[in-house]
Subunit: 315 residues, 2 copies
């Protein structure tokens, strides 16, 4: 089996070797800029790890894995336009460095390139892979739609919030694992178990992101601590806290005080505790799904340690 | 063989029966609005006509045909955001009726739905159909990129303009015909001949659009006559005219006078004549490509009369 660092190297090599069409070169400058800006490469890693559970040779999973990473970066690009986000991974976003039109159009081009890469899946699983990818594509749009709607809605329940992050984040992790499993010619039960693993991993991952927004290490988190609080985002923490006690009403003139007050509010209402519990719970469910794979324990070590790492990450 | 009106009915029924996901209903309101706003349904008609050249039963081409139409409408939706177009088919555009974010996101959802429909192609041609669709998807982004670049470029040659409209318009007609031919299990030569027919038909179609912008019937054209002139779009007419004689410099304070002066300039420089010649030339090349199909003449009547109709249309 491949180690994490070997997979990381394969993915980086694959990304470096991507050829972009040459008819309208300026279209691909923002695509290169986005793809070169790093990130955890979690999704292509999941594709390759899933294939590698069932096959030694994972070469025919590489291009679909890059497609999933390209697709993920497309969603970030369009989300950043919609959210008017100034920075991503420590650099100006495409719509800031270029303009909105460039971000819309080069995002569309990334969508097209992603589909091309995913469609390089082998014949024996092509239709399943494509269907998984296309269904996920629709669901992610639905997740982003709900996220935008929640901004202006007064009440959002925990269940609605979980459904939104399932659609916006989890399904793409599930999709990556499902595609990898299909290329690995896993059984239908194994494909489903890996998908369920991805869904629960994604929920833990996103809730951890909410938590890190408050208690992450500012040196490693990459975003400003308290960003969600300042923009009044309806996160798990806020929804849980408001169920206990009305939220503090105070001016944002002193931003640090505003953030500190809300962090205190999340701690006092037990929302922080509930968030940690929910993260551990989804991480546990993810590992339970792995047991359904019926594979020797040593095969699962990679996915288990990845789950532990994500659960305890501070970046 | 199906008549044009039978095909139109099939397509309309298919569109009426499309089911949209229900998780985030507001995401699909602009999709329905766009798909209900009509249009010529040229692209799905071409898919079905191409299949029908080789098969009596065209039922397995219907969903991919609807996918191509859905895709076309996605490109219009995003183009309208980028061009800040206020109207489309006589109704407010999505970004005007809703907002930019809605237009970006519901466009992305249409892209995903289009891919799903196209991926319903039969197994014997699935990979070819998907590859055709994805390659076209990239090319259309490139065409839109060139179109945007030309807005701020001083000099655009006729060759560059033709290449831009090939990418922006023709390749999707070629794609529609190619997908139809693949589903019809045509030979490789026949698939290529139909693609070439589509490319030339598309060039004739787009040049006719440029011409109609000046000399179309305001009652039937749907857009304001002289729109391209007012926004100083580098059309075939303008590029050709400027090769002969520098363009008139005058104020736009009297818009009608401005438009009339340019129409006169296009006539005097022979640009109008060159445009009509080019339209007839591409329409002729399109019909020549049909001859390479090696099919009985009566089979080709539909595509030939369609070409004649598009060449002489005033809408």
């Amino acid at each position: 089996m491949y180690s994490q660092s070997q997979l990381a190297e394969l993915i980086q090599q694959g990304l470096d070797q991507l050829q972009y069409p040459t008819l309208a070169p300026a279209l691909y400058d923002p695509v290169r800029y986005t793809m070169e800006s790093g990130g955890k490469r979690l999704r292509p890693t999941l594709v390759l790890m899933a294939t590698n559970l069932f096959k030694e040779d994972i070469s025919n999973a590489l291009r679909p894995a890059l497609g999933v990473e390209m697709y993920h970066n497309f969603t970030l690009l369009h989300d950043d336009v919609m959210d008017k986000a100034p920075n991503r991974r420590g650099r100006p976003t495409v719509h800031v460095k270029w303009d909105d039109n460039t971000a819309i159009l080069s995002g569309d081009a990334m969508h097209a390139l992603a589909s091309q890469l995913v469609a390089e899946a082998p014949a024996y699983c092509l239709r399943d892979v494509i269907n998984t990818f296309n269904t996920t594509d629709t669901e992610i749009c639905e997740g982003q739609q709900l996220d935008l709607e929640f901004e202006t809605r007064e009440n959002v329940t925990v269940e609605e919030y979980i459904e939104m992050i399932r659609l916006k984040t989890s399904v793409l992790l599930g999709c990556a694992l499902r595609i990898g499993a299909l290329i690995g010619q896993a059984s239908a039960e194994q494909v489903q178990a890996l998908y369920d693993f991805g869904i629960n991993l994604g929920l833990a991952f996103q809730l951890q992101d909410d938590w890190l927004d408050c208690w992450g290490d500012p040196k490693t988190f990459g975003k400003r601590i308290g960003g969600d609080i300042l923009c009044e985002k309806k996160t798990f923490l806020r929804i849980k806290a408001e169920m206990k006690y009305p939220r503090p009403m105070l001016s944002k003139s002193d931003e640090q005080m505003y953030i500190d007050t809300y962090k205190h509010y999340y701690l006092q209402t037990g929302a922080e505790h509930a968030c940690r519990i929910a993260i551990a719970d989804y991480a546990h469910k993810a590992k339970e799904a792995l047991e359904r794979l019926n594979l020797p324990a040593d095969k699962l070590e990679g996915l288990i340690s990845l789950t532990d790492k994500l659960e305890n990450r501070n970046v």
